[in-house]
Amino acid sequence: MVKIIDKPMAINPLKKSSLMGAVTAFLGMHRVMPLVHGAQGCMAFTKNFLTQHYREVTPMQSTAVFDIATIIGDDSNLHEGIKNVIDKQKPDFIGLVTTGMTEVRGDDIKGSLIRFREKYPEYASTPVVPVSCPDFKGDAETGYAAACAATLSQFITPEVRRDYKTRKMVNILAGMHLTAGDIDWLRRVFEAFGLDVIVFPDLSSSMGGQVNHFYGLPEEGTSADMIKNMAHADFSIVIGGSMEASADILLERCTVPYKKFDTLTGLEASDEFISWLMDYTGKQAPNWLRIQRQRAVDALLDGHFSFGGKTFSIAGEPDLIYGLGRFFTKELGIRLETAVTTARSGKFENLPAENIIMGDLDDLEEFSKDSDFIVASSNAIPMCHRVHKPLYKAGYPIKDYLGHFHRTFIGYYGAMQLAFDIGNICMTLDIEKSGH
């Protein structure tokens, strides 16, 4: 049962707006400029937020809607913004992200884009993908998923021709909760089963630190050509429920079938995934994967002495807390006191939490009195200081901490890593409790 706390406001919001999610998705695409249509702050706050999270250059721009005249609504800011971005940066395409402000005034974005095309035919070669992101609706995960779906809607047409391929190709529709470490692991697994993959979007390559020079547009990531090629993949896998709409577009327009994995975190989820891969390819799992599983099993055994009897609470977007919450409760045997989340989209019926709350970090503080540790983003640091509880960092943003984006939370390797991390927190608590 999802509980709503009777409170008129948000205190220490957990929710990030859909525009932040949409911008994040576009950062995972090659030479795409996210252009936020709104006042400067919407972009500036988001840029600051994502720069601290990824510790990378995060290209994005704003139409800088300014003053009453533009608010009452002509196209000039939007058109000038698009023109300037194309003139200065020459992106492969523009991800046009609206904001609460432009949605409230009822901007007709599609209409405005049509007028732009009529007025400025010289800019015709740069596609613009509009995504509606009113920040009074949805959360970062829905914005991320909407940007992915909007991009596919624009580039995937039923007519694309199927190339001759020697190997099967799979689309990985990567949810917002995945890290570079997660995506690396997936690539290695698919490679081992003889499959080519297109990861969409691919933040691991654009925001993972492998670009060693200055860039004005995201580099690496999924390119427009790769996106078009997704139409002739043999299969799609969806990681995280929020990405299902993208898979549906590929299914409906190009008959690419898909399988959805709500999570790949934990031993069982990993087993299910590898079983599917073995069935799909008819191949055996490689030796390194078997070793990773054995190590995960060993880590669970080593850690279990301190997992039992512990309680935790977690806060985050639905896909994130579903995966971690399920692993910690069902496989590690830690009691879940409270899960706080930002949208109703998750598979919460499978999450054995005592409280599931649509709320904020203030609710987490209120409803985690029995918890031994907290799992949340760095915004929970002040709260954890107040209640003297350890924080295991997960979600957005992770600031003041290096390397989070390169940790692995999925698959056998992720299960091992998480068992160690959580085991260390629990063991430290045990040692402290016993008085050293």
Binding site: M9, P13, A44, R105, G216
Partner: protein
Amino acid sequence: MRLAIQQLTEEPGCDHNQKKTAEQKKEACKKPTPGATAGGCAFDGAQIVLLPVADVAHIIHGPITCCGQSYNNRGTRTTAGNLHQYGMTTDMSELDIVFGGEKKLKASVRHVAAKFKPKAIFIYSTCVTAMTGEDIHTVAKEMTEELGMQVIPVDSPGFSGSKNLGNKFAGNALFEHVIGTKEPESIPMFPINLIGEYNIAGELYQVQPLFDELGITLFSKMTGNAAYEELCHAHRSKLSVVICSRALISIARQLDEKYGIPYFEGSFYGMGETKRTLMSIAEQMGSDLLKRKVEELTARKEKETYERLAPYLPKMKGKKVLVYTGGVKSWSVLKQLEEMGMEVIKSSTRKSTEEDIARILNYFEGNEDGLMPKGDGKTLLKYMKEYDADLFLAGGRNMYNAMKGQVPFVDVNQERHFAFAGYEGSVVLAQKICATLESPVFQLVKKPAPWEVSFG
């Protein structure tokens, strides 16, 4: 509110406005270019000024972006409370927008008043709530009566302008609703207002001991480490010292006009500036005793500081720096670096007043090549290379640009954890500069990978 915005953009205290024609004044502070802009909005600016007041609650009336992506993100330090760590917002939903959010705002004010028992509550309007015509002034008035606690409206829709204009909105809210609303129990000998200092990374803590030793009381600090009560007393100070020149000059001017409190611009970046600022205070106070004390204190501190700087100075001597920061720092940091024997090759003029620019020019002995307008990461890195600069000094936004260019970097903006003010700050800055200049990392990363080395 439209009127208030117009007045603030024509701020006569802004010296760059005094020289403008009536037509230019209407242009407001510089308009951003769509598709080629980097700065924050007016709401951001308002929050920067007021959020350091940590014994009052700050409720942002708007949808989630304004608070959800911005809270818990400034390096301000305080001993007055912990409410600056809280993000509070009405988190407007679609229904709230359709049916109006004033009821929700009132309920939020009641909730926060009961839960946190703050000294006062600031309520901020944002783009969406300003557009839908939410009347935060009436809400504030009604709630002040209902709760017997000051509820203060801050008009700060992001679309109304830049961060700088938002600073002025905040100053306006303080002047209209806070300053002069209470009388202090007693007034010390040398009470001053410190305006535009936000105690980033604890910079105020570095200069506070100097004031203590001189017997000067920071009577009203706006707003680093400020308690609400002291803001109410600002009208009883004898002098205002404005630290971040462009941001809050309006408050200083209004204090002068209404209460006859004179003001001047000061800075604590560098020993020379620190001394100049302290000496100006002593002069304005008209106390010879205070002047002598400033002479003694600054001479002693300079001697101590040069001793502490001794191991670092040879390493910094003649090294070339590119400075990209705003406002008061764009010139005062130059002097601080000069004191350490470094050579600034260029400094930015964004967010700088005419007077700031004149000071930068003065540093470069009139050579306009030293001035650098707004530049993106690519341009800045180009300058670094062109001038063979050794160090890049800028805000956090440029930190990763610098790392992509693999150049030594020191962060001088609001999210940093190191304080660079006063005498102590000069030592810390020297340590940070040397640490990055001497880091083996920069040599190592330039080493080619094995596959980039050609054999034979």
